[in-house]
């Protein structure tokens, strides 16, 4: 027999007090009266019951003592163990991933989990061991197996929330290694139960005693699961910011997504997403807009970490262009005057400079063979893309009859006033697409063959009036923007929680979203890996300007906060039990206390009777 709350036995001190009260009450005050004659007559029938009266009184005392003793023992929470068993070990795995920041009632899931864990620690029997492991994307042992309950409680209280994704598998593996060969070790996962099935685990789970307690109840949540920015793929010069939003709830979600720069509202979109589905919101910003952009959802559900996402828009890098040819004053003048272009002229026979420019323009003559990798523009010459097909032929004074009005290279340009003295007719070929047609055939087009892409213009500039028309600068700027841009199209920087912030510096101070400053030292490159909370980290390199680094949760699994009923762990399935049972356990103590108070009252009333 052991008592879980032996301190309550101190209440047994009330037993003698009850007895004392009894005797105090029973020590009758002696009163002298003239004669007991009339009193005896009055009491005649009562006295007939005197033995019963005495018995009743004593019985009452015994009952009261019995009830008090029972209450005290109950409060002391006795437990009975049939046979001696070795001390048990429990490994408490506490989830502190982003989904544990979901609000449940007055607090977060993590706060609830902490309370449940503390309760578990409180009821450990003497000699029982426990370990505390907090886990998110990585498990961390906060207290290794110990019987010291205060140390365990300290470890639990030290658990801080994160915005990291969950990796239950690695946490279980760590717990298994902590348990080692100890028999009867129980692994208790205290989390929100929003775990994906772990069908393949690198270890056997059937021999493990695993218990999963869930503190999660809320299910409705919508969140941003990815954010990206890219140049307008059509070459329009803007920047697209795209946020993917997932509605993890079981009811359709409708909300407002806003694009902000700081607190400046730039744009907003109404979003409707069906239950369990994903949707997106696209904001288009002019290219000149750079800096930190934020997409924010209102009414995003129980989890706030995924309601905001940030992305840092970068200035587009200049397009480096090499003009290979005898010299083309119109083209050089045009490119020299263009802000986002850095042009160099390579004379005939000269080597293409290193690193390779973004776009090479071959003016009049091109090297033999297929197009070189990268982006190229051929003027009055062609690469070998017509192998085995009709080769380009020459034509005099072709008349432009049509052009691609929507294409990235020719849009906004009109070629009706273009006069051409002579040109090549470019026949169809795989990967080739005509953009300007003359009566005799295509005189300009774009191609994309394996790693090479570019534009071919069948005539030389000096054989035309092109520089005198509006289409000349428009065509080249379109072409260079289309060809010289980042092939991936990404124009923004955003990290996910847990990813490292890296930048070249010797030392830097990094301020995390909660305002805490971290000093980081590096050899040439600063690496800051503690991106545990979603938000904007601000790096202040020594002697440099402050740089913002957006870190987003952007994790579908964390946005899905609804607890599962069961989760598969390897070859077994574990029931997810609700861990929020603490309240009901506490109530009976109050009831017992009330019962005791009523008993005392009854005792008082019984003895006091009616005072005259």
């Amino acid at each position: 027999m052991s008592l879980l709350a032996p301190g309550a036995l101190a209440l047994l001190g009330l037993l003698p007090i009850v007895v004392l009260l009894y005797f105090l009450k029973l020590r009758r005050e002696e009163v002298r009266i003239s004669s007991t004659l009339l009193w005896r007559k009055s009491l005649e029938d009562l006295l007939a019951n005197a033995p019963f009266q005495r018995l009743r009184r004593n019985l009452l005392l015994f009952l009261q003592l019995l009830i008090l003793a029972a209450i005290v023992l109950a409060v002391a929470r006795p437990s009975f163990i049939a046979e001696r068993r070795p001390a048990r070990a429990t490994i408490l795995l506490i989830d502190r991933s982003a989904s544990m920041n979901a609000r449940e009632g007055n607090g977060t899931r993590l706060e609830r989990a902490r309370e449940i864990t503390l309760d578990r620690i409180r009821v450990l029997s003497d000699g029982d061991l426990a370990a505390v492991v907090a886990f998110a994307s990585k498990p961390e042992v906060l207290a290794s197996l110990t019987a010291d309950r205060s140390e365990l409680a300290r470890a639990v209280r030290a658990i801080r929330p994160t915005s990291l994704p969950t990796d239950l598998a690695s946490a279980l593996e760590l717990a298994r290694s902590l348990a080692g060969a100890r028999e009867g070790t129980r692994i208790t996962v205290i989390g929100d139960g929003a775990y994906a099935d772990l069908d393949t685990l690198p270890f056997e789970t059937r021999t493990l005693d695993i218990e999963v307690l869930s503190v999660g109840e809320a299910t409705a949540n919508a969140g941003i699961v990815s954010i990206e920015a890219r140049r307008d793929p059509t070459g329009g010069g803007g920047t697209e910011i795209y946020a993917e939003i997932r509605n993890a709830g079981s009811a359709p979600w409708e909300g407002l997504a806003t694009l902000r720069q700081g607190e400046r509202l730039l744009d907003s979109r109404k979003v409707e997403i069906g239950a369990g589905e994903a949707g997106g919101v696209l904001f288009l910003q002019p290219e000149s807009e750079a800096g930190l952009m934020e997409v924010r959802l209102d009414a995003g559900g129980a989890l706030e970490d995924d309601d905001r996402a940030w992305i840092l828009l970068r200035e587009p890098a200049p397009v480096r262009v090499a003009i290979a040819g005898a010299g083309n004053p119109w083209l050089e003048t045009l490119l020299g005057a263009t802000r986002f272009v850095e042009a160099v002229v390579v004379p005939p026979g000269g080597a293409i400079p290193e690193p390779p420019p973004d776009v090479v323009i071959f003016d009049g003559s091109a090297p033999e063979g297929p197009p070189t990798d990268g982006a190229t523009i051929y003027l009055g010459c062609t690469p070998s893309i017509w192998t085995g097909l009709d080769r380009p032929s020459s034509v005099e004074s072709p008349v432009v009859v049509d052009w691609d009005r929507e294409g990235p290279v020719t849009r906004f340009a009109a070629f009706g006033d273009l006069r051409i003295e002579k040109s090549l007719i470019l026949p169809p070929a795989p990967g080739y697409r005509s953009i300007i047609d003359a009566g005799a055939g295509s005189i300009a087009g774009t191609f994309a063959i394996r790693g090479a892409r570019g534009a071919i213009v069948g005539f030389r500039i000096e054989d035309t009036n092109w520089p005198l028309t509006y289409s000349f600068p428009i065509f080249f700027l379109n072409a260079l923007r289309f060809l010289g841009g980042d092939p991936s199209g990404s124009a923004g920087l955003s990290l996910r929680t847990g990813e490292s912030i890296r930048f070249p510096a010797e030392t830097a101070i990094i301020v995390d979203p909660t305002g805490v400053e971290h000093e980081v030292r590096g050899a040439g490159e600063v690496v800051f890996a503690s991106t545990e909370r979603a938000g904007v980290y601000r790096a202040r390199p020594a002697g440099g300007a402050e740089m913002p680094f957006p870190v987003n949760l952007a994790d579908v699994d964390e946005t899905r906060i609804a607890p599962a009923a069961r989760i598969a762990l390897g070859k077994r399935s574990v029931e997810v039990r609700s861990g929020v049972e603490r309240e009901t356990r506490e109530i009976w103590r109050w009831l017992a206390a009330i019962a005791f108070a009523v008993l005392v009252l009854e005792w008082y009333v019984y003895n006091k009777r009616v005072s005259i």
Binding site: R28, T36, K41, I612
Partner: protein
């Protein structure tokens, strides 16, 4: 404490005991007796017989009829007043104290009787009878009476019947018996009254109780100890118990009243709460005990 002060004694001088029966003592006194004899009030004539007092011969009739008649007068005899005080320990109780009240009452009644020329005897009744004042008359014995009353102290148990019988044997003859008692006798009050009634005495019963007995102010768990050491009673005072006590007391008083009524006993119930002078000067006059 002086039992009676001078002022009160002066008030008593105007009072007289009222008796209904022409009961008389053995000595000629100031009260009319049914015995014809040497009184001052003419009653009848009868033939002279040898031995009659020649002073009673009506010489006028002898002159007219030549026969000797003697005048018969209603003999005026004194009233023998027996004042019996219950001296059991239960009398020493209450506020005001029952015994003090009783002996003042005895003194007052005795004084009134003495003033009326009656013969007064005072005795105390406990488990036996103790004569405090032998039958005496005249104002002169007033101080003796008061002194004797002042000196007695209640003690011991109650057996009114035994005491009354003993006294009745010792002082036979008619007269007025005044019993002052709380009647709280485990053996019952009836025996005492019967003993006093025997011998054709007129009986006045003064039933004295204290306010504490009439309306007890008790609460809680108590052990009630009898003043006469006849036992203890453990009670838990409750409103129902107090109501039951009051019913018992009312029943007791009613039984006394019925007993007295049935036997021609003048019964006076008095709470010691009633001021003593008011009892004497108002209540007893109203009841016709004093005139």
């Amino acid at each position: 404490m002086a039992i009676l002060d001078e002022e009160f004694l002066a008030k008593l001088e105007r009072l007289r005991l009222v008796v209904r029966r022409r009961a008389a003592g053995g000595v000629r006194g100031e009260r009319r007796s049914r015995r014809r004899g040497l009184g001052s009030e003419f009653s009848d004539y009868r033939d002279y017989a040898l031995g009659d007092d020649p002073r009673a011969i009506d010489w006028n009739i002898y002159a007219r009829l030549d026969r000797l008649f003697i005048k018969l007068f209603l003999e005026e005899e004194d009233l023998r007043v027996h004042i019996l005080i219950d001296r059991s320990a239960s009398m020493r109780f209450g506020d005001p104290d029952k015994f003090d009240y009783a002996r003042r009452l005895a003194a007052a009644l005795g004084y009134v009787a003495l003033l009326g020329g009656d013969c007064v005897a005072i005795a105390s009744l406990g488990e036996d009878a103790r004569e405090l004042v032998r039958p005496s008359r005249g104002r002169a014995c007033l101080w003796r009476m008061l002194d004797a009353l002042e000196r007695i102290e209640p003690d011991g148990g109650t057996d009114l019947a035994a005491g009354a019988r003993a006294y009745a044997y010792a002082r036979p003859g008619r007269g007025l018996a005044i019993l002052i008692s709380d009647l709280l006798d485990p053996g019952g009050f009836e025996g005492a009254l019967r003993a006093l009634l025997a011998g054709r005495r007129e009986v006045f019963l003064f039933h004295i109780l204290s306010p504490q007995e009439i309306d007890p102010r008790l609460a809680g768990d108590l052990r009630l100890i009898d003043a006469e050491a006849t036992g203890e009673v453990d009670v838990t005072i409750s409103a129902p118990l107090l109501a039951r006590y009051r019913r018992t007391l009312a029943g007791f008083r009613e039984s006394v009243r019925r007993f007295a009524l049935a036997r021609g006993i003048t019964e006076v119930f008095a709470s010691t709460r009633v001021p003593f002078d008011r009892l004497i000067l108002e209540s007893l006059r109203r009841l016709g005990v004093l005139a």
